[in-house]
Structure formats: structure tokens, C-alpha cells
């Protein structure tokens, strides 16, 4: 592992050890083969307590909704297929309208965001607007009608799934200079998002000045195309933490977890200078090593409480890190003789007791925590 930028004395990060004690044991309880096309995303529903054990996957032109039952049983609840066979979905997220009806929001190669009303099993809306593929969609946890999408067209867009409005476009003079691969809402500061991509940077954006437009989007009754969509051209912070593609970033409180293709997840603190927006320093606090994780488009996931993060690697292994301890503790290392294919994304259940992984070869793996183990 090369470190291109020498770390100054007194700024060294704490690096987690891969040989630390295992705290939890997981074992495989199920494995599904969902077609032959790669599965790029799997995600639990964290916005509706009725469906905490429901998850969605995407791969090829399919969106599928499953449920985790007792004893490793997985039930198929719904299945959707795009009539365009060339569509390849890359990302999926749960959202809902203001009445709480559950939506599944998916996007991919075609650049069209599909909003599926899982409550009525119908397509609710299709958002056309992105100029190229969509690499990630995330939902605002406090206002789950708002979703952001990260696209190859170098922009991040904020949408209101309830009214179908594109509220803001984060692109322009200070925007990303290559594909945007990942985006995430700040958990409590509703104005903030962080995005990262192929220009090797992580950018933090604020929509505080544009919040009136967000509010307006909820009451908009005219055609969505007539909405005065605004460009947010300048981020409040640009971090050069990585020297290669940054393919996943998540907020951890006010810190940011991000990963590149350097076999590690990095936790860092953005120190924004208020007087000079855009400038600032990133203080790298901790590193969570993930061996054999040097290809891009591998995304990690956290449980609801951000206690742990799970990430797959190129060889089908999963590493579960305790996020908030210092130094970081490796909770578990999951491997199975038949799991050899790269794991594109994992999903941790609400309490972290179930870990799902979706793979390049189109398989879904379910791991359950072993409760009776003596630890």
C-alpha cells in the first residue's frame, strides 16, 4: 500500500489492525442466484419500521424486492423489469412520498431514474434529465421524499420523488470534473451533502441558500418541467484525500468515510474554513484496511446506528469494521469457499445482525450473526 503524500508528524491516522479479536461470528444462511447479470446494489429499507427486514436489489434491467425471514429464509415480494433490455441498473434506494407510501428508486446506465411505488406495484414516475448513467441514489433520512443522484454527467441532482421535481443541480464552475460515483446526505444537517467521483475529490455542498426551492418543490402543482431548477456551482469544501477514483462516501456524524481503490476505508474530518469557502483541510483520523479491494465500484454500507460498516472485496470476502472505536476493531471477516466473485455492495440490517452481499456473478448471499457463540 503506497502512501503518496507523506504524513506529517502529529497528523498520523490510527490504522486498524486486521489481526484483532473477532467480536462476532456470522455464518451463511442463504444464497440466491438472481440471473446471470451482475448485481450492483442491495439495500435494506431504513425509512419505514414496518419494512426494516425488506430489502431491494438491482442488476441488469431488474429491480427486486425481498424480505428476510427467520431461519435464513428469503422471500421474494416484488419483481420489476425494465422493458428496455439494455438498461443496467447500478443503484437503488428506498424513499417514500409525504404520506409514507414506500417507493423504490433505481437508476443506472440509461440515466433515467425509476420511481416505483411499492405500495401499488406501479411505476410512479420516471425522471429524465441526467445526461448519462446514474451511479448512486441516496435518500434523505429525515425527509425521505428527497433523493440525490450522482451521475456520469458530472452532476449531482436533488429530486423530490413526491412531486417529481428536479430541485437543484450540483455542477458547474466548482463541480466535479469527471463522473460522480457516490453521494450521501448529512445525517442531521439537512442542507449538506457529500459527493465523490472519478476526479479523485470529495466535495461537500450546502443547499442552505437554496432551501426555499426545496420547500417550494413540495407544493409545486404546475408541470415539473416548469420548476425553476437551480444550479449550485460551488461546493463549500473540496478534499483531496485520495489519489484515485473515490467510489463511495458516507457521513459518520460530522466526519466522512470514503474509499478509493487503495484497499482501505478512510475516516476523515473536514475542517471547513468559513471565511474562504471551498478551501479547507481534511484531517485523516482513522483507516480501516480492506485487503484485495482495489477495483472501483465497490461500496460499503453501515447499519442503522452506524456502529459497523461492511464491505466486500474483489475475492468475495466481507470485512466488518467497528466504526466508532479507536483504534478501529475488525468485528468479523466473512469468507466462504464458494464466494469468489467480487462483491459490489453489502447491506447491513437495522441492528447489524444480517449482512447481505450482492456479487458480480449475480448471487445474493445472506449472513446471519451467530448468537450462541461464546464471546
Amino acid at each position: 500500500m503506497s502512501k503518496p503524500i507523506p504524513v506529517a508528524l502529529g497528523c498520523e491516522p490510527v490504522v486498524g489492525s486486521l489481526t484483532s479479536l473477532r467480536k462476532r461470528d456470522y455464518k451463511v444462511t442463504n444464497r440466491l442466484q438472481e440471473g446471470k447479470r451482475p448485481l450492483y446494489a442491495v439495500v435494506f429499507n431504513f425509512i419505514d419500521s414496518r419494512y426494516f427486514n425488506v430489502f431491494a436489489t438491482v442488476g441488469g434491467n431488474r429491480v427486486t424486492v425481498y424480505q428476510c425471514l427467520e431461519g435464513g429464509v428469503i422471500a421474494v415480494l416484488q419483481s420489476y423489469v425494465d422493458e428496455d433490455k439494455d438498461e443496467s441498473f447500478y443503484t437503488v434506494s428506498w424513499a417514500c412520498n409525504i404520506d409514507g407510501a414506500p417507493y423504490v428508486v433505481a437508476g443506472g446506465f440509461n440515466g433515467i431514474i425509476r420511481v416505483i411505488d411499492a405500495g401499488s406495484e406501479k411505476i410512479h414516475k420516471s425522471f429524465v434529465g441526467h445526461g448519462d448513467s446514474i451511479n448512486e441514489i441516496r435518500t434523505q433520512p429525515l425527509k425521505p421524499s428527497l433523493v440525490v443522484s450522482a451521475s456520469k454527467d458530472e452532476s449531482v441532482r436533488l429530486w423530490n420523488v413526491h412531486t417529481g421535481i428536479c430541485i437543484l443541480i450540483f455542477a458547474g464552475a466548482g463541480g466535479h470534473r469527471n463522473e460522480v460515483l457516490s453521494v450521501d446526505f448529512h445525517p442531521s444537517d439537512i442542507y449538506r451533502i457529500a459527493s465523490c467521483g472519478m476526479d479523485n475529490t470529495v466535495k461537500i455542498w450546502s443547499m442552505k441558500e437554496f432551501w426555499t426551492y426545496v420547500e417550494k418543490s413540495f407544493t409545486w402543482t404546475d408541470l415539473p418541467s416548469k420548476f425553476p431548477t437551480k444550479y449550485v456551482q460551488f461546493p463549500v469544501f473540496i478534499a483531496s484525500v485520495h489519489t484515485n477514483y473515490v467510489d463511495c462516501n458516507r457521513w459518520l456524524g460530522d466526519f466522512i468515510l470514503s474509499k478509493s481503490v487503495d484497499n482501505e476505508i478512510v475516516l476523515w474530518e473536514p475542517k471547513v474554513k468559513e471565511q474562504t469557502p471551498g478551501e479547507g483541510v481534511a484531517d485523516i483520523l482513522q483507516k480501516y484496511p480492506v485487503p484485495e479491494c482495489d477495483i472501483w465500484f465497490i461500496k460499503f454500507s453501515c447499519d442503522f446506528h452506524y456502529n459497523a460498516a461492511a464491505i466486500g472485496n474483489r475475492e468475495g470476502k466481507i470485512f466488518v469494521w467497528e466504526l466508532q472505536s479507536s483504534p478501529p476493531v475488525l468485528v468479523a471477516r466473512l469468507s466462504h469457499a464458494q464466494s469468489k466473485s467480487p462483491i459490489r455492495q453489502t447491506a447491513m440490517s437495522y441492528d447489524g445482525s444480517i449482512i447481505l452481499s450482492c456479487c458480480e456473478d449475480g448471487t445474493i448471499w445472506r449472513w446471519d450473526v451467530v448468537t450462541n457463540s461464546t464471546t
Binding site: 497528523c11 442466484q33 424486492v65 429464509v73 421474494v76 404520506d99 411505476i123 465500484f297 483504534p327
Partner: protein
């Protein structure tokens, strides 16, 4: 975790193994100790940070939990009739249990195929043609420095092979990054401080520190010094408190004019008449016209006292006793001025159309009270031209008072007259205020002064201002004391002389309002203010020389300012590469006439009077323009056209022939009117109007963006147009050719290029910034053509109709690709050979290599 720093410290100790000097030995161990301590502190601080952050996370999570439960209660009350998802939970499509088949081996898991019998179809939605997010530009911008791709690493992946590639193409990337100055961190400071405080500043200590901390000995020494000063300074600050506060805010009267105008000179673009011009940038070199605009003159008999404190009142008292001391003599000067001025203006109109001075004067008018007002009125009054006279006469006004070729308009001048009166009133009011207040308590009078001067003195102690206000009182009473003129006021006065001649009313009103009264200015003028000898019977020409001289002084003073303005260059990190160039020509659009004659970028020259061999314009092969410093009679100047009725739309017009738009400031008959004709002015658009100012006036067509009939996006026309009609401007970022080479290679990979050759220095790039015309496609049989036009000194790309085009037709023009430059879709399709020379890079891959 053992860090490198600790390692090096150990090595360091070993290298110093022989205890040549005990003190140094203990020092290195002490440094070692300190380093360890610092690392330990770091670990602790990270722990604390995470702990604090963990609490925040908990907080966030609980917020989300409460939001969820709120929603839950919301739909608990509702009917769940249409809740298919809930009902599916009761009746799933399938259930998969890996162990139901009774596999005994715990480690062997059966793979269960999910079979979709009942899939819900998502109806087909056509995808958009791909595009990269772009922002609209209505005028070209120069590239911001941080947008450069030169020397920046860019990683590609090949969509088909799914392999990541590095494009590293040029030799200059191999250049070593410039030797960085060592930047000291807080911890290094600590080590440094500890070492020198405890062991003294000796050679050995210096060596030891430099080895453990890094940086040269000199740097360390300097750092120590500055640390020492900082520590001292901190103590001093605490004892003294905030000292020199006033000077930091607003404009101090003690400053020179150039200092006061520093930010103005830096940020105001004199070519575009706006602040923060994105095209010409800030900190442009200041060009001062060698020709001064003649001061405008007024019959003194016509003048009314400008205020209570007007010198005319003073004069009325004094005329009988001592005419020489008063301004009486000025009347003759003024009259002479008018007499000599008028004929010369008629004989040699060009001489006076000093468009160059216009720039400066407008600037000045920006900083003070509305100057154009005065000029407009002057044109009407002094030259005695009836407002509704013929066109030809009107032009004379245009050229003699040169300002406002655009603005001068009968209706306007009349309305300006009104405005002038109100302005005067206002100023009078202010002046009265000042004089009245000066008799009042000190603090109020200074408040007035403060408001005009810098307006930031609110919360200051009253006592502080007693002195200056007394000062002002003295001024009103004993006006002879010249010493009280602050440097800034003196310079403003000189500028005023330059602009208005020896007219104290105007100088006071426009430049010194609130600072000095008219009477004070007059007295100052009398006493030979600022070494200007009082001349009663000199011809006006020498008066002009005089002002020329003062200008020379000003320029001298400005010189150091200019030197100061050199911008700090942002540091860009450079990477080293060893891969060879991708080596295929990039796709650039070229000028439609295809002659490949590259236009030369114009940069105003600062030549005084005539341009000689040293003139950069002459050297560069461009004409001198109105923004140059040289005189209008400069032989290198482009003199515009004199076309009468041709509308300047053919090559008979010298402007048109030279690929330039006509310039109302330069051409004789090209003008713009903005009235509606109700006041007798010529109509806005008429037969006689110049047709070669369409980019300047933005007389463009409505362009529509839609899916092309040929490839990707296309630009379409809303309304029908005729041959040679102007459709719009192709805008974009101005980038250097070097940058364009780099970007071209990047864009070629995406197979879409929006580069457009502009001139010898710049290429237009509309990739991320531009307008809809960037989507017009290439055709070898186009209906449009692109033409680079010189508009007010800038090259701009106009798109024109090559033939009659119907409404909603798609627009095409010939990109004029160089040989072998056409993109794949413009040539015959062929296999993608282009990645051959680029070396694969093994780091970032979306997929595993086999």
C-alpha cells in the same frame, strides 16, 4: 502502529551514536521523546474526537428514529387497502430456504435460482442523448486557473474492456515539481521550540533538529525567529490591545489616490465596464491614454453658485477690491478655450473623439458623482447645437464629446438635464449640511465626513474625532492654510483639474463632495494648489499641457502599484508520468473560411503618443484599438469605416473586410439609437443603420435544443432567417492552446469535442460552459457558417446563416476539421484504435482482470 517518524528518530540516534557531544545526544533522545509524546497525544485526540462524534451520531440516529416513528403513526391511522407491499409480506411470490433441501454440509450452500414468473413491467422510456452537465454562458470567459487539466492526473477506463487507463501524455508532466518550501506544522514547531529553548541555538542543535524535522538549516533558523516573534507579539498584544484599528477599514485620507483606488483598479475591467470581468480578468495592466480628453468648459456668467460655500459668492464680495486674486480671470480663459476649441473640433473631428479617455473618465464617473450627465449637458449647451438638428451635426457632437456615443440622445440629454438639477440639489444639500454641521459639535460633522469618506466609523469613540473635526472647522474659517489638505484630497483635486479644468464648483461636487467646500477648493487653487502655478492669461493649449504633466505624475505614482498587482499563482500539484503520449490529433472545430489564417490576440499597448517599433501591437501584428494608450492619430490604429448607406454588410466596408464588427466609438456612421422616435431622434432600426454590430448588440436568433436527426443533440432554429443573418454566438471558456491539446485528448475519448480555434493564443472550449449553439452538428454541406469576429478588441465566434433557413430546421456548420481530425462519426466508422498507445494501468478497474 509505529510511524515512520519514530523510525527515523531511532535511526537518527544511531547515526549520532558516538557521543561526540553529550548535549546533542540527550537532545536527540529528547526529540525522540517529544515525538512519541506528540504521537500519543494524537492518538488520544483522535479517540476524543471519535467519542464526541459518536455522541453526534447517536443524536442523528435518534432524530431519524423519531422521524420514522412519526411517519409510522401517520400511516397506522390510515387504511392499508392499497398497501401491496404489506400484503406481499403476507403472501410472498416465493420463499427460499437454503437448508430446506436438507443439505447436511454446513459449508456447502445450494444456489437457489430466483425465477421470475410475475414481473411488473416498467414501460420503455427513451434515454436522452448523452451530455455532460454544462452551464450557460452569455459571454466568453477565460479559464479559471484551477480548471486546468495540464499536469493533472486523469484516469480513464475503457468501457468495453473495463480497464482503467491513465492518460499521461506530455513531456512537461515529467518536469520535477518545484522545490517546495518546507512548511512547518504545529508539532514541528513544538520540537523546534523545545530544542532551541533548552539547548540554545548552536550548530549541532540545528543539525539535529533539521534531521528530525526536515527543512534546511536556514529555514529552521528563520522559523525559530518568527516563532519567537510570534510569542513576543502575543504578549505585546495582550498588553496593548487593539492599536491601529482605524486605518484598516475604509479609505484613509492619508493614503494616496492610487492606494485608495487599488481594489478598483484591480477588479474593474475598463473594457467591459464591469467589476470582476471573467473575460479579461482582474489585475489587468492599466493603460493610460496619452491623449487627454479636453476639459469641458462653462461660461462663468452662466454659472450659479453651487452652494453657500461657492467661490462665486466669495468673488462677488471681492471683485471690486482685487480682481487678480479672485477667479475673475478665469472667465477669459474659459472663453478663449471655447473659441479655440470649437473650430479645431470642426476641422479635425477625429482628434477629439478620444475614445480612449472615455474609458478613464467613465471609471472616474463611477467612483464619484455622475460625470456623463455633465458631458451630455455640455454638448447641448456649449457647442450651441440645436437638439433637433440634422444627423450630420449630431455626429459632430458625438465625436467632440466622444463619451456616450451610445448614450447621447436628445431625449436623454434633456432628461439628463433634469437629472443634473436634482444632482446639484443633492450635492448642494450635502454641502450645506457640511458647512452647517461644521459649526455644530465636532462629532456630528465628522460623522458626515465619515459617511462620505468610508462610512464605517460608527462605533468609534467620540473623543477620537474631536481633533479632526476641529480641523474641519479651521478649514471653514481660515481657508488659507493649505497644509490641511490630506494627500488623497490633493490627488483628487489634481484629477479634478484634469477632468473639469479650473472649475472649483465641479471639482468639489464630483470629487471632493463632503470633504471640501467649493470655496476651499477655489482658495487652494488660487494659492497654486499642489505646485500648480496660477496662470491668468495662458492659452488653453498650455492648460492642457499642464494637465498632461499632472497626468505624467500620476502615472509615475501608479507604476509601483502595477508592480504590486502581480497575482499570486496557485500551487498546482504535479504528478510524474512515464507513459507516452496518446498521440492522436484532437478534434477541433476551425474557422469556417478555412484559410487557417490564425487571428492574433489583441492586447492593448501602453505606448505614449505614437507607436514606434517597440509597440507590442505593432510587434504582434495587431492593429491598435481604442483601448490602447497611444493617440488616435497613431498610424497603427484601425480607423473604422465611413460607410454611408451600405450598412457595412459587404467587403466594401473596411471593418467587415477585416473581420471586425463596426464600433460606434470608432466608425463614423455606425451608431445605435435607443429612443422610440417620439423626441425626433432617428428610429431604433432603420435602413441607414449599420448591420455589422450584431454580436455587440446581441441581435441573435432564438436557438432551440433538441435531439438531432443526425447524432446526439442538435441545435434548431425557432424562426426563419435569411442568408447571412446572424444566429448567435458560440461561447465558451477561453483556454490556451496547450490546455486545448490536453483537453482535446480527454474529449476524444468521450468522442465529443467542443473546442473551437479562436486565435493564436486561445481556443474556445464549450464543454462545460457554453450555449446551445455548441450542440450544432457538423456537416460537409452545412446551412450555417462560423466566423471569428473582432468585437471591441475581443475575438468572438458568430454563427451565421449560409442560406435561407426555415423555422425549426436543424443547424449545421462545417467544423473544418484538419486532415485526419474528423471524429469517428464524421468519418467512416472504424474500430477504436485509439487506445493502443495508452498504457493500461492496473490500479482502478471496475472489473477483475482475467
Amino acid at each position: 502502529m509505529v510511524s515512520k517518524a519514530a523510525d527515523s528518530a531511532i535511526k537518527l540516534r544511531k547515526s549520532h551514536g558516538q557521543p561526540a557531544n553529550d548535549a546533542v545526544g540527550t537532545l536527540s533522545s529528547k526529540i525522540d521523546q517529544l515525538e512519541k509524546q506528540i504521537q500519543a497525544e494524537r492518538i488520544v485526540s483522535i479517540k476524543e474526537k471519535l467519542l464526541r462524534n459518536g455522541k453526534k451520531v447517536q443524536c442523528h440516529v435518534s432524530e431519524v428514529v423519531s422521524a420514522i416513528s412519526k411517519r409510522d403513526s401517520l400511516h397506522r391511522q390510515e387504511d392499508r387497502i392499497s398497501q401491496m407491499l404489506s400484503s406481499r409480506i403476507g403472501h410472498p411470490l416465493f420463499k427460499f430456504n437454503a437448508f430446506s433441501q436438507g443439505s447436511s454440509d454446513k459449508d456447502l450452500i445450494n444456489s437457489l435460482d430466483v425465477i421470475f414468473t410475475t414481473s411488473i413491467k416498467m414501460p420503455y422510456v427513451e434515454r436522452l442523448p448523452p451530455y455532460t452537465s454544462w452551464i450557460f454562458l452569455d459571454r466568453n470567459q477565460r479559464m479559471a486557473e484551477d480548471q486546468s487539466v495540464v499536469g493533472r492526473r486523469r484516469i480513464y477506463y475503457d468501457q468495453h474492456g473495463s480497464e482503467a487507463l491513465i492518460c499521461s501524455d506530455s513531456e512537461e508532466e515529467l518536469t520535477e515539481p518545484e522545490e517546495d518550501k518546507h512548511e512547518f506544522t504545529d508539532t514541528e514547531d513544538r520540537i523546534l521550540w523545545m530544542a532551541f529553548e533548552q539547548y540554545g541555538l548552536t550548530e549541532e542543535v540545528l543539525d539535529t533538529v533539521s534531521e528530525s524535522v526536515g527543512g534546511t538549516r536556514q529555514e529552521i533558523q528563520d522559523r525559530y525567529k518568527s516563532l519567537k516573534e510570534k510569542n513576543m507579539g502575543r504578549q505585546d498584544q495582550q498588553s496593548e490591545g487593539s492599536g491601529d484599528y482605524e486605518s484598516q477599514i475604509g479609505i484613509s485620507l492619508e493614503e494616496s489616490l492610487s492606494t485608495a483606488l487599488d481594489s478598483f483598479d484591480n477588479l474593474f475591467c475598463r473594457r467591459c465596464m464591469m467589476f470582476d470581468c471573467r473575460l479579461h480578468g482582474c489585475s489587468q495592466p492599466l493603460i493610460y491614454p496619452s491623449e487627454k480628453q479636453p476639459v469641458w468648459l462653462e461660461h462663468e456668467e452662466d454659472r450659479k453658485p453651487c452652494s453657500d460655500q461657492c467661490f462665486l459668492k466669495l468673488k462677488a464680495e471681492k471683485t471690486s477690491s482685487d480682481p487678480r486674486c479672485s477667479h475673475g480671470n478665469k472667465t477669459t480663459t474659459t472663453e478663449e478655450g471655447v473659441l479655440t476649441f470649437a473650430p479645431s473640433c470642426a476641422a479635425e473631428p477625429e482628434n477629439h473623439s478620444s475614445a480612449t479617455t472615455l474609458v478613464e473618465e467613465r471609471c472616474n464617473s463611477m467612483s464619484t458623482t455622475p460625470f456623463p450627465t455633465e458631458v451630455a449637458v455640455c454638448g447641448g449647451l456649449n457647442l450651441n447645437v440645436p437638439v433637433t438638428e440634422s444627423l450630420g451635426k449630431r455626429k459632430t457632437i458625438d465625436q467632440s464629446d466622444d463619451d456616450l456615443t451610445l448614450l447621447i440622445d436628445d431625449s436623454q440629454s434633456s432628461c439628463k438635464k433634469q437629472k443634473k438639477i436634482t444632482d446639484t440639489d443633492v450635492v448642494t444639500a450635502i454641502n450645506e449640511n457640511t458647512s452647517n454641521k461644521s459649526i455644530l459639535s465636532g462629532s456630528t460633522s465628522h460623522d458626515e465626513h465619515g459617511n462620505v469618506g468610508d462610512g464605517t466609523k460608527d462605533g468609534m469613540a467620540e473623543a477620537e474625532f474631536n481633533e479632526p473635526s476641529n480641523f474641519m472647522n479651521e478649514h471653514v474659517e481660515g481657508m488659507q492654510s493649505l497644509s490641511e489638505w490630506k494627500p488623497l484630497e490633493k490627488e483628487l483635486y489634481l484629477k479634478g483639474i484634469e477632468m473639469f479644468g479650473r472649475n472649483s464648483c465641479l471639482i468639489t461636487r464630483n470629487l471632493l463632495s463632503g470633504l471640501k467646500t467649493c470655496m476651499e477648493v477655489a482658495t487652494y487653487m488660487h494659492a497654486g494648489g499642489a505646485s500648480m502655478p496660477y496662470r491668468s492669461n495662458v492659452p488653453p493649449s498650455s492648460l492642457r499641457n499642464d494637465s498632461g504633466k499632472t497626468d505624467a505624475e500620476c502615472t509615475d505614482q501608479e507604476m509601483p502599484t502595477r508592480a504590486r498587482l502581480i497575482r499570486k499563482r496557485g500551487k498546482t500539484r504535479k504528478f510524474k508520468y512515464s507513459w507516452k503520449s496518446a498521440g492522436h490529433p484532437s478534434i477541433w472545430k476551425r474557422i469556417a473560411d478555412g484559410k487557417n489564417q490564425s487571428c492574433k490576440q489583441y492586447t492593448p499597448c501602453g505606448c505614449q503618443s505614437m507607436c514606434g517599433k517597440q509597440c507590442p501591437c505593432l510587434h504582434n501584428g495587431t492593429c491598435c484599438e481604442k483601448y490602447c494608450g497611444c493617440s488616435k492619430s497613431c498610424k497603427n490604429r484601425f480607423r473604422g469605416c465611413h460607410c454611408a448607406k451600405s450598412q457595412c454588410r459587404s467587403r466594401q466596408c473596411p471593418c467587415f473586410a477585416a473581420g471586425r464588427e463596426c464600433d460606434p466609438d470608432v466608425c463614423r456612421n455606425c451608431w445605435v439609437s435607443c429612443g422610440d422616435g417620439s423626441l425626433g431622434e432617428p428610429p431604433k432600426r432603420g435602413d441607414g443603420q449599420c448591420g455589422n454590430m450584431r454580436l455587440l448588440l446581441r441581435q441573435q436568433q432564438r436557438i432551440l435544443l433538441a435531439k438531432s436527426d443526425v447524432a446526439g443533440w442538435g441545435a434548431f432554429l425557432k424562426n426563419p432567417v435569411n442568408k447571412n443573418d446572424y444566429l448567435g454566438e458560440y461561447t465558451g471558456e477561453l483556454i490556451s492552446h496547450r490546455e486545448a491539446d490536453k483537453r482535446g485528448k480527454i474529449y476524444d475519448r468521450a468522442n465529443s469535442s467542443f473546442l473551437f480555434d479562436l486565435n493564436d493564443q486561445f481556443v474556445l472550449d464549450a464543454y462545460r460552459k457554453g450555449d446551445k449553439l455548441k450542440f450544432a452538428n457538423h456537416s460537409s454541406n452545412p446551412n450555417c457558417y462560423a466566423k471569428v469576429m473582432l468585437v471591441a478588441g475581443d475575438h468572438r465566434v458568430g454563427i451565421f446563416a449560409k442560406e435561407h433557413i426555415e423555422a425549426s430546421e436543424e443547424l449545421f456548420y462545417d467544423y473544418r476539421y484538419g486532415p485526419d481530425q474528423a471524429p469517428a462519426w464524421a468519418r467512416k466508422p472504424e474500430s477504436s484504435k485509439r487506445d493502443e498507445s495508452a498504457a493500461p494501468q492496473g490500479r482502478a478497474k471496475k472489473h477483475q482482470s482475467h
